[in-house]
Symmetry: C2
Subunit: 219 residues, 2 copies
């Protein structure tokens, strides 16, 4: 009996969220999405590896229409990902329109099909000011829509909604998450670039300046 479905990207946030559920003995299944982002090819094998490691059932759903029809520099069809700090000016171009709404809607339907009561997603407070579909007021509205649209069967929960990425990094370290087996860089090359805004935030989260970040960066 599966209690919860986790949306697992293979990034550090969702991998820590998975580790937390495992530590709490929650019966969980994982759902990943290949929506044609530049870094999907790096993330998805790591998501699969984490599930294998923890013995968690895992499905990858392909959404090729997002890369074909949507506009974002995060997508393979989009322009280059900008370098620089993780701030609104730089990051706006990486918004994939309503991405979290789409991924959560699919996960809600899948959860109802498996009689699972809950969908978990690892969006956090650092995402809020850039991505409208990560903000607390969106999360509340979507969770309410999920409850109503499933006749009360499925809720969506955001356990990291009040945490920033460094707090998530520290939590994962306490749960023995191997961060070398998680991916963050938006450019999706063979190693983390170290200079895009996502790498910038990863360094902050993993306390790179304190020598605690095990990631290999190109720069």
């Amino acid at each position: 009996m599966i209690e919860s479905i986790i949306i697992l990207s293979g990034g550090m946030d969702s991998t820590v969220l998975l580790a937390k559920q495992i530590a709490q003995n929650i019966q969980i299944a994982a759902l990943s999405f290949d929506y044609g982002s530049k870094h999907n090819r790096r993330e998805l094998p790591l998501a699969a590896g984490a599930c294998k490691n923890y013995g968690v059932p895992h499905r990858i759903i392909e959404l090729p229409f997002i890369n074909q029809l949507f506009k974002s520099s995060l997508l393979q069809s989009g322009q280059a990902v900008p370098n620089g700090r993780y701030d609104a000016g730089n990051m706006k171009k990486t918004v994939v329109p309503f991405r979290n709404g789409i991924l959560m809607a699919i996960a809600v339907g899948y959860a109802e099909s498996l009689d699972a009561k809950c969908v978990l997603i690892g969006s956090h407070s650092g995402d809020h000011f850039i991505y409208p579909d990560c903000r607390p007021e969106f999360n509340s509205a979507f969770s309410r829509a999920a409850q109503l649209g499933t006749g009360g069967k499925v809720s969506v929960e955001f356990p990291f909604s009040d945490m920033d990425k460094r707090q998530i990094g520290d939590l994962g370290r306490s749960l023995d998450v191997d961060y070398t087996r998680t991916w963050t860089c938006y450019k999706g090359a063979n190693v983390h670039c170290g200079v895009c805004s996502a790498c910038d935030e990863r360094k902050y989260a993993l306390r790179h300046d304190e020598g605690k970040d095990p990631t290999s960066y190109a720069e």
Copy 2:
């Protein structure tokens, strides 16, 4: 400049809704979904034909994971569609979990990508008591989530939310909709079966008993 995206199944409700937008000179694009229902193969060519007829841009998005992973008698992977009246007992098995939530979420992201301000869907009051994701309270919650998740750029509207299917049928007749070019039967054979609950409701809507229904039924 596209103003609105319509979710077009090729059924009578969404086809009437499309005709209404055309009559109002709304610049519109249509989005259809092949999610593996038994009647998609009948509906989708009719959706494409309506768009060609009205000169409306049209995309069909394939969602094969719904048929593979979700449970519903409406799906090709599901059990037989029940015969009988369009009531809750018979129809519950035809619920595709959170289907409208998924379709609307994708349409919202697509609308934002095209700078369209609005997503239209033809769900109506007759659907409410069976399908939780057609009820007014779900519609309101989802519309709010769409607004928040797109930073206020996209809203979802439900123009038929307060109408029943017969009112929609009458409206379409006044707009010269050719109902022989719309599909309703859940069984998806070569002609409408005439005995499933969806056909039962179509007969009511098109005033079959008054001799106004142009549909050919097997029974």
